[in-house]
Subunit: 149 residues, 3 copies
């Protein structure tokens, strides 16, 4: 089974490393602008970096659930691709947000896009399993049969 | 195995969608009361909505771990029921908190109740597996034997 | 399979209980210093307790991903040991941070150390699986062969 989830594990792991990196960056901006803990307000650049990290934290459970459900019930490789896109989006988001509040928008759109794709994959995959478990219907097979005859 | 976890996946997925919805709501209140990012203080209604969302984020890891451990080691269907109760509790919590600080209390009690039920199921299930793995004792069998003779 | 992940489940569950305990503590300091919700600023002791809890939340996804990837792809028992070390570190961190901002440092170092160990285990384990899945190379076997001949 390990081989069936290794790509999801790699992507989750990269995302965890990115989160740790953001936490470190916020610490750096804290020192740069001399914001003594536990304060989280002060220089605007620090506040933007902190808010950017917080937003990543707020979405991390959403992202991980979406990624794993899509990868497990639909397709591991495809889920991993959109998982990587999300990480790239978060990279742009954080970098952009630190520069200006407006700078966060492009990266955030990429994140939203990849979450929506994972959401569609998740819903399709779960519906298929639910139908086959509780109604004995294999939807995927039927759809493929309709297409290929 | 997919059928053994599909209900847990569905409930986790619904919870993730709810979290995304709360994030969207906070964004709406931000615009309504013209609170420019990265600020998180301003109009009391925005502050309550933001704090409500933050509390959900703080509990999301607790909830997901409890849900999956209870569902995996005790009973999937029962865990899913309490998982749904939690989501309903969070719905009341957010709605109530946005209206007034006191309004959060009823929903929060529901969330606490469902977390405690999941906690009891988790502990029972894990204890059973630990005893059977490390001591060769199948507690569940013994209890059933005591009851049904 | 349940026996292969039960220690990871136990450690995750303990960490979830600790997080719930921290949330309860913050509520207690809120009442002690009469900080009315949704405010998160006020008496310095409350602010430190709140910030300590927030930091735990920020790292909870990182911790859980690291723990499970290390336990699944490398070694469950070893991952559980470092998972427990992390929980102990968080205990010291929270207790220390409530007393003074400087008091958080020792506990945080312990947490960082255990996360780095889990990170090394995760990377090794995943690399091994990836090499064997996509290149047909079993690295672990080769290393053991090099050592024991």
């Amino acid at each position: 089974m390990s081989a069936d989830i290794v790509l999801l594990a790699v992507v989750s792991f990269l995302s965890a490393c990115q989160q740790a990196h953001f936490a470190k960056q916020v610490g750096n901006y804290r020192m740069k602008h001399k914001v003594a803990p536990p304060a989280v307000t002060g220089h605007p650049e620090f506040e933007r970096a902190f808010r950017a990290q917080q937003n990543c934290v707020e979405f991390s459970a959403i992202y991980l659930v979406d990624l794993w459900v899509a990868g497990w019930f639909f397709n591991q490789e495809l889920a991993a691709v959109f998982g990587l896109l999300y990480i790239y989006g978060r990279h742009l988001y954080f970098k952009g947000y630190v520069e200006s509040a407006k700078g966060r928008l492009y990266g955030f759109s990429l994140c939203k896009l990849s979450l929506i794709c994972l959401l569609v994959m998740s819903s399709t995959g779960m519906t298929n399993i639910l139908l086959s478990k509780y109604c004995g219907i294999n939807l995927l097979k039927k759809v493929l049969h309709l297409i290929y005859g």
